[in-house]
C-alpha cells in the first residue's frame, strides 16, 4: 500500500460527473474507508444523473479533459425514481453519436456506483485513469481549439502564446 509511487510521463485529466445520492456518497465512503486511488479525477456533483446534459461532457473534453466519467445510482435506486433511467437512454444515444463523430469511447466511461460501493468507485476511477493514461492525451478537441479558418489565422507570437494558455 505505502510503496514507492510510480511517476508517469503523462497524467491524464479526468472529469467525473456524479449524482449526489449514490456515486458522490460512494466516493465519500472510499474516503472514510481510506481506500487509495489515482488523484487525476475532479468531481462535479449533480443532484441526479438525469441532470447531466451531454453538453457538459462535450465541454469537459473541449476544456482539456482526457477522460470523462458519468456515474449515478443503480437502476431502481434513483432518489428521484427515474432520473437515471432517462440518463441511461440519453447517454446510450450520446455515446453512439460521439463514436460516429470519431471520439474514442475508451475515454468516456459510464457506471453505476451506489453509496455503499466505495470499492467500486475506486475500481472504476482507477481503471479509467489507467486506461486513459495508456492512451495518452486526447488531442482531438484540443487541436480544434487552436485551429482557425485560414482567413482568420495570424501567427503572432503573442496570440500563439495566448492560445496555448487558453483553457
Amino acid at each position: 500500500m505505502h510503496g514507492h509511487k510510480e511517476k508517469h510521463a503523462f497524467e491524464p485529466k479526468i472529469v467525473a460527473f456524479v449524482c449526489t445520492w449514490c456515486t458522490y456518497a460512494g466516493a465519500d465512503l472510499a474516503g472514510t474507508s481510506r481506500l487509495q486511488y489515482p488523484a487525476n479525477t475532479r468531481v462535479v456533483k449533480f443532484p441526479c444523473t438525469g441532470r447531466i446534459d451531454p453538453v457538459f461532457i462535450l465541454r469537459a473534453f473541449q476544456k482539456g479533459a482526457d477522460g470523462v466519467l458519468v456515474s449515478g445510482c443503480h437502476p431502481g435506486d434513483c432518489h428521484y425514481m427515474a432520473g437515471n433511467f432517462h440518463a441511461r437512454r440519453r447517454f446510450a444515444a450520446f455515446r453512439q453519436l460521439l463514436d460516429f463523430i470519431g471520439v474514442d469511447l475508451n475515454r468516456l466511461q459510464f457506471s453505476w456506483v451506489s453509496a455503499a460501493e466505495g470499492g467500486k468507485w475506486v475500481e472504476v476511477v482507477t481503471e479509467l485513469t489507467e486506461r486513459v493514461r495508456a492512451m495518452g492525451p486526447m488531442p482531438e478537441f484540443r487541436e480544434l481549439e487552436a485551429e482557425e479558418c485560414w482567413s482568420g489565422a495570424i501567427d503572432t507570437p503573442e496570440l500563439k502564446e495566448a492560445y496555448e494558455t487558453i483553457p
Binding site: 482557425e148 479558418c149 482567413s151 482568420g152 495570424i154 503572432t156 496570440l159 495566448a162 492560445y163 487558453i166
Partner: protein, 338 residues
C-alpha cells in the same frame, strides 16, 4: 500595356510568390466544391468554377481574433493583435464580381472608424483578377453595371485565351510592381484571341429607378410577399462578396480569453435584438427589407456604390429559393409603373 502568361507560367508564378514568403490565395478544389484558399503550389490553382464562397474573406475573415486578455487579482491585461503580422498576400484568379466588391467595402471600413484589420489586409494584398467565361442562370453582373471582364479592384487582370494561357493587363502600380518582379514569366501580349466572355441572361436593371422606388416604399406589401418564406439563415449574407456585417464576442474563461470578430447576417432573428429584449426588426420581411435597402439605397446614399456585384451566390444558396435578381426585376418594373 498588355502582357501574356502561359498556364504553366501562371502556376510557376504562384510557386515563386509562395517561395518569397507571400501568402497566395486562389480558387482550389475543396471536397465537392471550389473555395478560395491558401495555395501552397501553383498546381493547386483551380480556376474553372466560381468558388462557393466569395473572396471577401481575404480582407474580412470569417472569424478573426482582435485581442487577447488575461485577468487576475491585479487586473486585466489586454494584448492587441499586431497588424504587422498580417502577411503580404496575392489573391489570384478571383472573379470580377468578387474583386469589384473590395473597393466598395473600403468606403465603409475607412469611414467613421478605420478598421485596421480590413485596411491592412487590403494594403498588403495584390489582386490578380480573372475574366469570366462561364455564367449560369443565377449570374447577373451585367444587370448591376459590372461585366465579366470588369477590372474594378484588380491590380492585374487576366483574360483566358482560346489557345490557352492568359492575356494580362496591368491595372495599377501595385500590379505593375508584381509584374516587374516576375518579368521573365510574362511575355509581350501577342494578338491571340481571347475566349468569349460569359453572358449573363438577366437584362440591365435601372439601379437609379430601383433606388428611388426604395426611397418611397419602406412600407410595401412586397416585403412580406418575398420574405415571409425566408427561413432566417445567413447563407446569402455569408456567401455575398459585399455583405460585411460582423459580430464581436469574447470567448474563453474569466481568467483568459480572446475577443473575436466574425461574420454576422441581417437575416438572423437576433441580429437587431436589443438588450431589453425588444427587437425592432421582429419579423423576417423587415429583415429582408433591410437587406435590400442597405444594398441598393442606404449604401448608395452614403457612399455612392451598391453592395451587389451580381455574382448570384445568394440565389444559388438560398434554401427557400429567394432570388434577389427576381426581386430587383420586380422593383424595376414597379419603379417604371410609379
Amino acid at each position: 500595356m498588355a502582357k501574356s502568361i502561359s498556364e504553366q507560367n501562371l502556376r510557376l508564378l504562384i510557386d515563386a510568390l509562395v517561395s518569397e514568403g507571400k501568402r497566395v490565395i486562389g480558387p482550389r478544389a475543396a471536397g465537392t466544391m471550389t473555395l478560395y484558399g491558401p495555395l501552397t503550389t501553383g498546381e493547386e490553382l483551380s480556376p474553372g468554377e466560381l468558388p462557393r464562397r466569395s473572396a471577401k474573406e481575404c480582407f474580412f475573415p470569417l472569424c478573426e481574433t482582435i485581442l487577447a486578455y488575461e485577468r487576475d487579482k491585479e487586473g486585466v491585461r489586454v494584448s492587441d493583435v499586431d497588424s504587422c503580422a498580417i502577411p503580404e498576400t496575392v489573391l489570384i484568379g478571383a472573379r470580377p464580381c468578387d474583386v469589384a466588391a473590395a473597393p466598395v467595402l473600403d468606403a465603409v471600413f475607412s469611414w467613421d472608424y478605420r478598421d485596421e484589420f480590413f485596411l491592412e489586409r487590403r494594403k498588403k494584398t495584390t489582386i490578380i483578377g480573372l475574366a469570366c467565361t462561364k455564367a449560369d442562370d443565377a449570374c447577373f453582373c451585367t444587370a448591376v453595371g459590372l461585366a465579366p471582364n470588369d477590372t474594378k479592384g484588380s491590380d492585374l487582370f487576366l483574360s483566358p485565351l482560346k489557345e490557352g494561357g492568359y492575356r494580362c493587363d496591368v491595372i495599377t502600380e501595385k500590379g505593375e510592381a508584381l509584374l516587374a518582379a516576375h518579368g521573365p514569366l510574362f511575355a509581350d501580349a501577342a494578338a491571340a484571341e481571347p475566349l468569349p466572355l460569359a453572358e449573363p441572361t438577366l437584362g440591365k436593371l435601372d439601379l437609379e429607378k430601383i433606388r428611388s422606388w426604395l426611397d418611397l416604399h419602406f412600407e410595401d406589401p412586397l416585403w412580406e410577399e418575398i420574405a415571409e418564406r425566408c427561413a432566417g439563415c445567413g447563407a446569402c449574407a455569408f456567401l455575398c462578396p459585399a455583405c460585411h456585417c460582423f459580430d464581436i464576442v469574447d470567448e474563453g474563461g474569466e481568467k483568459k480569453g480572446v475577443r473575436r470578430k466574425s461574420w454576422d447576417a441581417c437575416g438572423f432573428g437576433k441580429f437587431t435584438n436589443h438588450a431589453s429584449g425588444h427587437n425592432p426588426r421582429d419579423v423576417q420581411p423587415s429583415r429582408y427589407r433591410n437587406r435590400i435597402m442597405h444594398k441598393f439605397k442606404y449604401y448608395v446614399d452614403k457612399f455612392g456604390e451598391r453592395l451587389c456585384t451580381g455574382c448570384g451566390r445568394c440565389i444559388r444558396a438560398c434554401p427557400v429559393g429567394i432570388d434577389i435578381a427576381a426581386v430587383l426585376e420586380e422593383i424595376d418594373r414597379k419603379g417604371a409603373r410609379d
